[in-house]
Subunit: 333 residues, 2 copies
Amino acid sequence: MNTPAPIRMAIVGYGNLGRGVEAAIAQNPDMQLQGIYSRRDPASVQTQFAASPVFHMDALDGNHSQIDVLILCGGSKDDLPQQSPALAARFNLVDSFDTHARIPEHFAAVDAQAQAGKTTALISAGWDPGMFSINRIMGEALLPDGDTYTFWGKGLSQGHSDAVRRVPGVAGGVQYTIPSPSAIEAVRSGSRPTLSTRQKHERHCYVVLAEGAEADAVRQAIVTMPHYFDEYDTTVNFISAEELAREHSAMPHGGFVIRSGNTGTPDKQHKQVVEYRIELGSNPEFTASVLVAYARAVHRMAGMGLHGAKTVFDVAPGWISPKAPEQLRKEAL
Amino acid sequence: MNTPAPIRMAIVGYGNLGRGVEAAIAQNPDMQLQGIYSRRDPASVQTQFAASPVFHMDALDGNHSQIDVLILCGGSKDDLPQQSPALAARFNLVDSFDTHARIPEHFAAVDAQAQAGKTTALISAGWDPGMFSINRIMGEALLPDGDTYTFWGKGLSQGHSDAVRRVPGVAGGVQYTIPSPSAIEAVRSGSRPTLSTRQKHERHCYVVLAEGAEADAVRQAIVTMPHYFDEYDTTVNFISAEELAREHSAMPHGGFVIRSGNTGTPDKQHKQVVEYRIELGSNPEFTASVLVAYARAVHRMAGMGLHGAKTVFDVAPGWISPKAPEQLRKEAL
């Protein structure tokens, strides 16, 4: 029996997520890293593995024939809204676009290019959006009379940390999201509580002030920031740059999706609780692992002629696995 | 906008699972119960809802044009190996075949008939096999350097209770599967322990002796039963028929699938833990809810021309949801 050729993956953007993807590809024997593409001078990019090839972004188009799937590792604010549609015109790709409110327009923009180019482009992979989204819709489908609860943390939130760092007077900082233990307990009991945003999570910020900045003004700017902090109990702790580097450089995260519902007839009900939980030593490495598994599915779907923009909702579980369907049925069903 | 016609479901077999399906269909406004088909005299069948139509099994074939999907609620030992292939020749269907070791041959038998009849027949839906299987293969795909652990319980196991009741000298009985708390804790820590079958679960039986039966002989027959009990620490408690009825008629169950793995480079690793957990007030009603959601997917897949035998591994999450893809992307991604 012939071993199929490895899937040739290319990484676009080489920050924490790109480094996670480089490491994840090395864990999957059916894949091969074709290259890392960066806007920086390739000679200046330090990769984790000596053998990882680095190219300038300008070389991407010319290497088209050597690449099966692009894994986009840029940011959702500035990079992906441009890159994903533009690259979907010629490449199969996966991205981790995570601005929930703008997903429909991002999907439409990517879909137009992918349909025209007959490529397969899966957006918003990762854990939320991503694995958590899957568990939200499956929980709802399995238990239609129910409530869905998503908790994040304890963990460092990259989006909220970025928001803190954009506040004038902030020289550096991180934000941790902390789920409320009493809220989790109430939800797990199957009692289906109604919980306000404020009751579910707290937000803890550790901030280094810029020279001359006023602590009270910075604190006020953070805790009143719309969407990010104004609906939460937010605490702001001011620390030194040394403490920030020493105590807050790891990137743990985690969270839960819980569906709590009732089955049975109106006069004889039973409580049913389904919980999906992750506890991550490294948030970017886990997100990267999800992107890489869904890049495998993208390669398969492109081969099946399933073109256009896709999300994790469109991907059968078997398609992300390296194993053949008959092996999965025999070993894992 | 026209509301699509409801999906017309038929239940084949009316025990605990069939009753659960009857209740679950009533919770889904996009479905309609066409009928309950039983080998018993229809006049003798007491349904949970007065409006549920009951037919003799012999009427099934004649009602073909009124049915979109059959939900088979018979047993895996005697009913489904015959029924699923035979009915897949003409009907779209879903079953809960759960004899893990015989799934490949069941799949092959159903596939032959479904391919020939151009029907869609999804086998082995439920929670294990089913939701747990999905979480096993997804965990493995996301964290290739990892270990998968499945725990069952605390709960009443229908298969093991049936096995107990088949022992000569047993007038009635139930079996509870109990996961070991220390084993669960070790797995959740991310330490990836090696656990024997005996270390993971205990089995507790509550048995009513038949008149004249010898307790020691019955106990010995149970604890040495191959596959079911011989590899476990099994305790057998003898109780009265009254106590069995009073204390052991509920059907709770539950369990966990945990994938514990490592990401990163060989010299810098991070622990990652993914856990899927269910806690069921009623095992048959939850299994029924899964069957009903996958019956919706079967209806959709039949419409897409995806014929043949299928499993949960072949079903994209969006297909089990009553909502349209654009609504799911907007609300749940």
